[in-house]
């Protein structure tokens, strides 16, 4: 239990550092933000007095440290400022678009798991077979292809040529298939490789030999004894994959005009919408560390040797 408390408490400094990072990134912006803010609103560069007034309005006349603390104070209350481009609260926009990203990342993770894990297990149980070679080679190839390029190849084949699936937008399963495949394919390859190697490790264990010696059929040795024991590594990786896909869906969202936070962020970058960029960094960072926390806790629940400290570790091991 102390581990859980410590692990959760550790989130606070990490989260604070992420907010500092987000704030500092926005400070990298070239030019005077007050001047560009005024120009965006009025379509002309500000005069001297107007510039000073805008600066005061945006709080830019305060020292950096003070501005960070004020911004942080509001961020803690869920206020990440107002988007330059839409004029709406950043938090509101992020929250209203997050479900779409969640849906896409979940679908892509499911695909990666359902495709990758069985392939990895089968490849391990038939080592050096044709299927094993194809799985290893295929996983390396999909891991080497840029996801956004795979997205366009899928669009060209399934939308432009075959006219089977829509190439953009939302609405039902048919719209979800291409973006989910584009996003999840490389991770399927990763899970296949990981599943294969952790399965191979387990299959070398003595209890597998025992199970075989008992005369259990090979499929039961593989799928019951083998898979269950190699699952820990895979489950952890699945959690990481999910967090990764949540964060990395940005380009796929842009390509498929998917209304998630990734597309929102890329848009914000093109528009120089700094409050939105800051908000996006804080929001994604927060989601990412929460997913990592969940992964750690699940891993702990699966493997009692980790949760209860060193005394039981020797007993269990």
């Amino acid at each position: 239990m102390t581990y859980v408390v410590r692990r959760v408490a550790y989130l606070i400094p990490t989260w604070l550092a992420i907010t500092l990072l987000a704030f500092l990134i926005a400070q990298l912006a070239p030019g005077d933000p007050a001047s560009s803010y005024f120009e965006r609103l009025n379509g002309r560069p500000p005069g001297r007095i107007e510039l000073a007034r805008t600066r005061h309005l945006l709080g830019l006349d305060q020292p950096v440290a003070e501005r960070y603390l004020r911004w942080l104070g509001q961020a803690v209350q869920g206020n990440l400022g107002t988007s330059y481009s839409s004029g709406l609260p950043v938090t509101h926009e992020l929250l209203s678009r997050f479900p779409a990203t969640l849906e896409l990342a979940t679908a892509a993770t499911l695909l990666a798991v359902l495709l990758g894990v069985p392939l990895g297990v089968i490849a391990a149980s038939r080592r050096s077979s044709l299927l094993d070679h194809v799985t290893r080679g295929g996983s390396l190839i999909v891991g080497s292809a840029p996801g956004f390029w795979v997205a366009y190849i899928l669009i060209i084949v399934f939308s432009v040529k075959l006219r089977l699936l829509p190439s953009f937008g939302t609405g039902g399963l048919s719209h979800l298939i291409l973006p989910a495949v584009a996003l999840g394919l490389a991770e399927a390859g990763l899970l296949a490789r990981l599943g294969r190697s952790s399965m191979l490790e387990v299959l070398r264990e003595e209890y597998i030999t025992t199970a075989r010696a008992k005369g259990l059929p090979e499929w039961r040795v593989t799928w019951q004894h083998g898979l269950r024991n190699s699952l820990n590594a895979v489950v952890t990786q699945v959690g990481l994959v999910f967090g990764f896909l949540l964060a990395y869906s940005a380009i796929i969202e842009v390509i498929f005009v998917w209304p998630g936070i990734g597309a929102l962020a890329v848009n914000a970058i093109n528009q120089r919408d700094y409050p939105m960029i800051e908000g996006f960094v804080v929001f994604t960072g927060t989601v990412f560390i929460l997913v990592n926390l969940a992964v750690d806790l699940i891993y702990m629940a699966l493997d009692p040797r980790i949760s209860l400290g060193s005394q039981t570790a020797t007993a269990a091991g």
């Binding site: 990072l21 912006a29 080497s144 390029w149 060209i156 960094v281 994604t284 990412f288």
Partner: protein
Amino acid sequence: MAAKSALTAEAERLPLARALAGRRALGRLLIADRTALAGLLIVAIVLAVAVAAPLLAPHDPNAQDVLNQFKPPSAQHLLGTDQFGRDELSRIIIGARISVLTSLAVGAAILVIGVVVGTVSGLAGGLLDGAIMRVVDVLLAFPSVLLALAVAGTLGPGLGHLAVAMTLVWWVDYARLVRGLVLGVKEQQYIESARALGVSGRRLALRHVLPNVAPPIIVLATLQTARLLLALAALSFLGLGVAPPTAEWGAMLNDGKNFLDTAPQLMLYPGLAITITALGFNLLGEGLRDVLDPSLR
């Protein structure tokens, strides 16, 4: 002198260091490993193309020919022409320069930063180590491509900005790996002997610690190059890299996406170039790992 012979003696007993010390032996092992050999061949060819690009390109990559837009492959233009009638093959070849050499440059920069920070952190220990590792933790707590996207997007478009953003974000992997490795060898007897003999901190790091932790770093560097290549392509595809008309693989894909119906081949070639190059580095990395650390096979 005495310290050096102590290291040599220890190195003889370390299979990894020995494999690395005998460069010829390493070469033989790499050629024997088919994965590594395939990767090595691809990487060598791509590097040769990148370096000799101006000599190899059959046409001026930026020469427009409005009467010959979207031409299919022909003897004149082996991969056809793009929306401005420019020779696609020449653009792919010249594009290798920016795509591959930028990835390698960023890779070298993060390698140096990461190795220096990781070694200092591992050898120094204490408060400095603690402070450095907190920074590393935070950067690792955040998805790298997104951070690079935010930094590059804030700095504004341009290949230099993009390279700076990627460097700022990616060095942490090395720092963590190197620190862990340094902590591992720090307590070894040959390091202690060198210390006892009064070897200075810098010499200790460069001559005694780093050679013994090199293999995993080399593996990471190779795999990392593939990742950087993909990230560079993605960020450049979003319009954060080179300005037109410069040929760069990610930017070429960004151009090509407007002609999916009429000229899908423009999406094919740059993507294949990226995939094959990344595959080469990935194969080489996997092969190196097998050769340098057979237990992971």
